[in-house]
Amino acid sequence: MHEMSVTENMLDVVLRHAARNGADRVTRINLVLGEFSTVMEASVQFYFDIISKDTVAEGAELNFRKTKLIASCSDCGSEFEVVEYDFTCPSCKGSETEIISGREFQVESIEIK
């Protein structure tokens, strides 16, 4: 539902970097999207097609790389994939964990002409 404003922010990032690098066109936008993020891929694509019109990013292909929800345990240091939102460390059963990936929505790179 919030993809409209999220997509606007994404386009801002893309256009800023495109201008900085003197791009005539952005052909591809490589995005990293964590599985724990609430952002919907299809919805971003939908809004992007509308709001990128008449910008250098119009028609750019959106390429999503999905990352799994990975946490690290502060007690024993092990990294593990969080299954069914259970953040308990599978090795030592510790509950002090930190998310390493899976929450992000990032512009990783853009391909320009």
């Binding site: 999220v6 922010n9 791009a23 953040f87 308990t88 992000e104 990032q106 990783e108 853009i110």
Partner: protein, 217 residues
């Protein structure tokens, strides 16, 4: 040609959230971001909180709604400074809107700013506002299965308010199951079980909140 960017899409919001934090810190304030689905009892909970803190902590409210000012009028009726943000269709508050509100309000003498987010269990979880505390409400009528459907919200919140506990005898709501699921995703969450209608459990929440505010001061 490929250009490396490595910039988070939420970074722009987070920069303003940090500005909000600075405003809050400089003003000696405590800010609470209140999130819940529509009808969970956000406004009633704010009214109860204002009443419970009366004479102890001075409160101001930033009221976020898609449209209308029904809630802000109700809260202003309780005699606290209130400012309404209409998001005009957007399903969540962003740091920028809160920044504008903080700058427009007269916060002299205020100790606690309560931000009532737009009724929604999905989007508000993604947007930091610069708050000290993220509080979410789940009402009994919504069911105990919600954490697995809206995991980000339940894992991000510092406090879970289970509201409308007076309805439990009329439902299949399983409090133990709820707590077990939530603690797996958020082991340090504080859970308060209460009813804004009957007032049961409110005192416990008020005492805890006041203690947190005083600790910061």
């Amino acid at each position: 040609m490929e250009i490396e960017v490595l910039e988070g899409v939420f970074d722009a919001n987070e920069i303003i959230a940090k500005e909000n934090r600075a405003l809050i810190e400089d003003g000696g304030l405590f800010m609470m971001n209140l999130m819940a689905s529509p009808g969970a009892g956000k406004t009633s909970f704010i009214m109860r909180t204002i009443k419970g803190l009366e004479g102890k902590v001075s409160v101001a409210v930033i009221e976020g709604d898609i449209a209308g000012k029904v809630d802000s009028e109700r809260i202003a009726g309780a005699g606290v400074p209130t400012i309404q943000i209409n998001t005009g269709g957007s399903c969540h508050l962003e740091a920028k809107q809160v920044n504008t509100a903080l700058n427009r309000m007269d916060l002299s003498g205020v100790e606690l700013v309560i931000v009532e987010n737009v009724g929604n269990l999905v989007c508000p979880a993604e947007f930091k506002l610069g708050e000290d505390l993220k509080v979410m409400i789940l009402s009994v009528a919504e069911g105990d299965d919600k954490p697995l459907k809206y995991p980000l919200m339940f894992s991000e919140s510092h406090v879970l308010i289970v509201n409308k506990i007076d309805l439990i005898p009329h439902t299949d709501f399983d409090m133990e199951r709820l707590e077990e699921t939530v603690r797996k995703m958020n082991p340090h969450v504080e859970i308060f079980k209460l009813s804004c209608r009957t007032g049961e459990g409110i005192e416990c929440w008020i005492d805890w909140l006041e203690k947190r505010i005083r600790e910061k001061q």
